[in-house]
C-alpha cells in the first residue's frame, strides 16, 4: 500500500485561533478515509491544505508533491467536491461536460454521459433549474468521470434528503471506487458512511484524536450496556464515556479487558457515532 498523503506537524493559525495544531497522519492508496470532527475542528482547513488551496506550517506531501507549491501539477490527479452546490447556476449541463472535457486530460466524457443517463438530468438544463439532489448527482458524475488518484469530498451530501445521500454513496462505491483510488471524506452524517469507510480519522480542536483502520475498532474499543446496579463496577473499569439509554448505562472502553466487561453486561462493538462522542467530547454528552 503506497502512501498517498503524508502530513507531519501540520499547523495553521488564523489570528488567535489555531485551526490545525500539529496534525500528523498518513493515508494509503485504495483507502476510504473518513475525516470526522465537530464544526470548527479544522477539517476543512486540513482538506484545503491537502488540495493546495491553503498554506500550512509543517510538512505535507500529496502524491509525492507539495500541494501548495505544486497545485497546478497536482490538480490533474486530485479531484474534489468542496461543499455542495458550488456548480455555477448559469452553467448548462452539456457545457459543463464540454468544459471539463476541454480542460481536464483525465476526464472521460463517455463515462460522465453514462452516469448521467441513469439520472433524470437533461443536457439542456441549466444548473439553476436542477434540484439540489440533481446538482450533486451532476457534480458527482463530472468528478467520477475523472481518472484521479485522490478524491476529496467535503460535506458532499449536506442538505440532501436521505434518498439522495444514499444514492450518492452507492454510486461512489459501485461505480468509482477501486484499488487504485483513494477517497477522503468529511461529513456530519457519520452513521451513513460507516459501512463504506476503511479508516477513521477524528480531529478535534486542531488535533488528531483518533487514527484507526475500521477493522481495528473491535480490537480496541468496546461498548458495554449494564443495568444501573452495575454502573459503579463499570465506572471502576475507567470508561472513556458514559451515557444512559432506556434505563441502562452505556459505557465505552478503550483497550479494556473483554472478559471483565462481559461479566458486567452486554458487550457490543461501538458505532462511529458512539466513538466520536466519547473521543471528541470526553463522554460529556
Amino acid at each position: 500500500m503506497a502512501t498517498l498523503i503524508e502530513a507531519r506537524g501540520l499547523t495553521k493559525r488564523f489570528g488567535n485561533t489555531t485551526a490545525l495544531d500539529g496534525v500528523s497522519f498518513q493515508v494509503g492508496s485504495g483507502r476510504i478515509v473518513g475525516l470526522i470532527g465537530p464544526n470548527g475542528a479544522g477539517k476543512t482547513t486540513a482538506l484545503k491544505a491537502i488540495l493546495g488551496l491553503a498554506r500550512c506550517e509543517g510538512s505535507l506531501s500529496v502524491l509525492g508533491l507539495d500541494p501548495y507549491h505544486d497545485r497546478d501539477r497536482l490538480a490533474e490527479r486530485v479531484s474534489f467536491i468542496a461543499d455542495v452546490a458550488v456548480l455555477p447556476r448559469w452553467l448548462k449541463v452539456q457545457n459543463a461536460i464540454d468544459f471539463v472535457a476541454g480542460v481536464h486530460p483525465r476526464f472521460r466524457a463517455d463515462r460522465c454521459q453514462a452516469f448521467l443517463e441513469r439520472t433524470s438530468i437533461k443536457r439542456t438544463s441549466r444548473v439553476r433549474e436542477l434540484s439540489k439532489g440533481m446538482i450533486t448527482q451532476l457534480h458527482l458524475a463530472l468528478v467520477m468521470a475523472i481518472d484521479a488518484q485522490l478524491l476529496v469530498l467535503d460535506e458532499p451530501t449536506l442538505g440532501l434528503d436521505i434518498l439522495s445521500r444514499k444514492r450518492f454513496y452507492d454510486s461512489l462505491l459501485s461505480d468509482y471506487m477501486d484499488a487504485e483510488r483513494t477517497i477522503l471524506v468529511t461529513t456530519h452524517q457519520v452513521e451513513e458512511i460507516e459501512h463504506i469507510l476503511t479508516d477513521l480519522l477524528f480531529i478535534d480542536r486542531g488535533r488528531v484524536v483518533l487514527d484507526l483502520p475500521m477493522d481495528d475498532i473491535p480490537a480496541h474499543y468496546a461498548q458495554l450496556l449494564v443495568a444501573p446496579d452495575r454502573a459503579e463496577a463499570a465506572r471502576a473499569l475507567k470508561p472513556l464515556g458514559e451515557r444512559q439509554l432506556l434505563g441502562r448505562h452505556v459505557f465505552l472502553y478503550e483497550n479494556a479487558d473483554h472478559a471483565a466487561l462481559a461479566a458486567l453486561g452486554e458487550v457490543r462493538q461501538p458505532s462511529i457515532a458512539d466513538l466520536f462522542v466519547a473521543k471528541v467530547q470526553g463522554g460529556a454528552a
Binding site: 497546478d72 490538480a75 490533474e76 468542496a82 458550488v86 481536464h104
Partner: protein, 308 residues
C-alpha cells in the same frame, strides 16, 4: 494548453452573455430606428437628410460625400465603443467576485486550471474578445443600416457609390482595428484595476472600484487645491489619449451653402496617430500599471483562503 485557454474564453462567453447580447441589442436599436426613419421619411445622416443631400450634392465634392458616409459608419461604430466600455466595466468588476459570491470558485479550482490561466482568460476576454465581438456586430449593423438607406440614397444621382465605396469601408475597418488596439492598450490599467478589486474585496466591488479614486481626487482637491488626479483619471476615462490628432474630432472642412454653415467631416482615419500613440509614455505607463494590477489579481486569487 492553447486549447485549454480557448475553453476558458468560451466559458466566459457562456457566463457573460452580455458580451454579445448587449451589442446585438444596440445593433437592433440602430436597425429599428433607421428602418422607422426611412419609412416615415425623417432619416438624416449627420444632420443631412436625403432631401438636404439632394439639394447639396452637386456642391459637394466626392471627398465630402465619402466623408459623410465615413462619419455615418464611425458614428454607428462609436456607439458600440461606448457600450463596450460599460459592459467591460461590469464584466471585469464581477468576474472574480461573482465566482466567490456563489462559491463556484471551488468548482473552478477543482479543475487543472491555474490561477494565472483563469485570470488571464478573463483579462483577454475583457480587453480583446468583448471589443472584437462588439466590432463584428457593429460591422453587421453598419452593413444593414446602409442597405436600408440605399434605396433612398439611390434616388440622388451619384451618391450611392459613395455609400458603398471600398475606400469608405476600408477606412472604417482600419479605424475599427485601430480602435480595438487603442482600446486594449489605453484601458488596460482600468481593466487591471477592476480585476484586482474583483479578486480582492469582501463585498461591493463596484463601490471599491469607484470610491478610492474618487476619494483620492477629493483629497487632492481639499489638501493641495490641485486637480492632477482628476485630470489623469478623467483623461483616461473620457478620452482615448494620444490615439487621435489633428482637429480634435476630424471635422475640418467648413462649407456654407444656402446660408447654412455645414461641417463636412474629413474621415477619422486621417486623424489616427498610431506612431504617436504607440510612442507615448502615457500609454506605456498605463500598460505597465495594468500588467502589474493583473499580476496582483492573479496573486490574490491564488493565495486567497476561501475558508476565511
Amino acid at each position: 494548453m492553447n486549447n485549454k485557454f480557448l475553453w476558458l474564453v468560451r466559458r466566459e462567453l457562456w457566463e457573460s452573455r452580455s458580451a454579445w447580447l448587449a451589442p446585438l441589442a444596440v445593433g437592433g436599436v440602430w436597425v429599428a430606428s433607421v428602418l422607422l426613419g426611412v419609412i416615415n421619411g425623417s432619416i438624416a445622416i449627420n444632420g443631412l437628410s436625403p432631401a438636404h443631400l439632394a439639394r447639396l450634392h452637386e456642391r459637394l465634392t466626392p471627398d465630402n460625400l465619402d466623408g459623410i458616409a465615413s462619419l455615418a459608419l464611425t458614428f454607428i461604430g462609436a456607439t458600440f465603443l461606448v457600450l463596450v466600455a460599460a459592459t467591460q466595466f461590469f464584466y471585469a468588476i464581477d468576474s472574480l467576485y461573482g465566482e466567490r459570491r456563489d462559491r463556484s470558485v471551488l468548482f473552478w479550482k477543482s479543475m487543472p486550471v491555474s490561477d494565472r490561466e483563469t485570470v488571464l482568460s478573463k483579462f483577454v476576454f475583457a480587453t480583446l474578445v468583448m471589443p472584437v465581438v462588439a466590432a463584428l456586430v457593429a460591422l453587421a449593423t453598419q452593413v444593414v443600416v446602409f442597405a436600408i438607406l440605399s434605396p433612398r440614397v439611390a434616388a440622388i444621382d451619384g451618391v450611392l457609390p459613395h455609400l458603398w465605396s471600398p475606400a469608405v469601408w476600408g477606412g472604417s475597418l482600419l479605424l475599427t482595428a485601430y480602435g480595438i488596439l487603442v482600446f486594449a492598450l489605453w484601458y488596460l490599467p482600468l481593466v487591471g484595476w477592476y480585476l484586482l478589486v474583483s479578486a480582492w474585496v469582501p463585498r461591493s466591488p463596484l463601490m471599491f472600484a469607484t470610491l478610492p479614486p474618487l476619494a483620492l481626487m477629493l483629497a487632492e482637491r481639499i489638501v493641495f487645491g490641485t486637480h492632477y488626479t482628476t485630470a489623469v483619471v478623467m483623461g483616461r476615462l473620457m478620452t482615448l489619449g494620444p490615439a487621435f490628432g489633428g482637429r480634435h474630432d476630424g471635422t475640418d472642412v467648413g462649407l456654407v451653402i444656402d446660408n447654412e454653415h455645414l461641417q463636412i467631416p474629413r474621415t477619422l482615419v486621417d486623424a489616427m496617430r498610431p506612431l504617436h500613440f504607440l510612442g507615448s509614455p502615457e500609454v506605456w505607463a498605463g500598460v505597465v500599471l495594468g500588467v502589474a494590477l493583473v499580476v496582483a489579481a492573479i496573486y490574490v486569487r491564488r493565495t486567497r483562503d476561501e475558508a476565511a
